[in-house]
Symmetry: C2
Subunit: 214 residues, 2 copies
């Protein structure tokens, strides 16, 4: 196990720890972008209430429910449909980067493309958390476009906790992106990220000018 | 007019220029996050096929259609519902940051909250571009949460072209966020953005380790 990771049993034995469970729902797809770029796989993530990207899920209380039961409860609230997640879907557990008293449990569940579409429809219509804890569901692009965009731009965004590393780890573990390709993608993400810094400084200067004018 | 901006007439007179039209759809809302933080306004943006955040819209050909007609065509494809945008909704035109031969036209249209919800439902179900040019619609959080998240985290993401400055400009122009508040938010965005850099480096190191193992 990599550093920081712990077994499910060790995690559950941790006294006074809080537990958060999240799941990566994904499917294969034969669809092509612009009729020529294979999309390959659809992975669902969400824009959270705090403006960060993350996986569906949330805090679970093992004293009152199983990890998977609690995760199922969170998914129903956030996605508007019941999605059974089982212990076989468990991928890893580790301490959250920002706190040694919070353990994050990560699950990966493969679905059919039509089920993913149903989740998206329900998340925008019947989910009680829509517009509240969840600001919208987004698909993760796993391809690289001609201009170098796609996965690299997506990975340059801001993510909650360890969500970005969970995503990177999962695409490698389930062979959704070639490791060499992912390495190039991340180098490109750092460039996009650096460009964003300049852009943010420009927005700050614009606001500064408006502050004086208003 | 600020530097780089031009009038609608000047823009249309530009020989050999391409034109892109985008719209910020928004509504007021009385909803509160967690029953206590006023959400105030709902603004729609989208995760684009290239992994960047942007406003709905796209390229328009003024030789074949009006700017607003072309924008309406793009909105129908991306959002799955017809949304009439008129010349009165036009806010500004300017040269795109990456090319002096591309002019971006920005519109802002106020709607009812229920209309925004209908757009979200249609975008995830009937829109032809769903899962293709559009990976999902997201609401922009305009509030600041207790932990400092919300708008600041959202603005730390990567945006296409001048979409971030269009957003910042529009929230000031339509008084959706106080200028002093927005200034603090952007300072906080820069901190989140810096934190993302470390996180991205960690993801790169993880991939590097996996490359050797696989």
């Amino acid at each position: 196990m990599a550093s920081g990771q712990l077994s499910r049993a060790e995690a559950l034995a941790c006294a006074g720890c809080r537990h958060a469970c999240h799941v990566m729902l994904y499917s294969d797809t034969k669809t092509q972008l612009f009729g020529k770029i294979p999309i390959k796989h659809i992975i669902l993530m969400q824009m959270r209430f705090d403006g960060l990207l993350g996986f569906p899920g949330g805090l679970v209380n093992p004293a009152e429910e199983t990890l998977e039961g609690g995760l199922g409860r969170e998914l129903l609230e956030e996605l508007g449909v019941a999605i059974p997640v089982s212990i076989e879907d468990h991928v890893d557990s580790c301490y959250a980067p920002e706190s040694s008293r919070l353990i994050t449990h990560f699950y990966v569940k493969k679905m059919e493309e039509e089920q993913i579409r149903e989740v998206e429809r329900a998340a925008a219509s019947t989910a009680t958390d829509h517009g509240q804890e969840v600001l919208g569901m987004v698909r993760v692009p796993l391809y690289v476009t001609k201009g170098g965009g796609g996965l690299s731009s997506f990975l340059s965004h801001s993510f909650i906790g360890n969500a970005r590393s969970q995503l990177v780890d999962a695409v490698l573990r389930f062979n959704l992106v070639d490791p060499e390709e992912l390495h190039k993608v991340l180098v490109c993400s750092l460039k996009t990220h650096a460009h964003t810094a300049e852009d943010l400084q420009a927005a700050l200067a614009l606001t500064e000018a408006k502050r004086k004018r208003f």
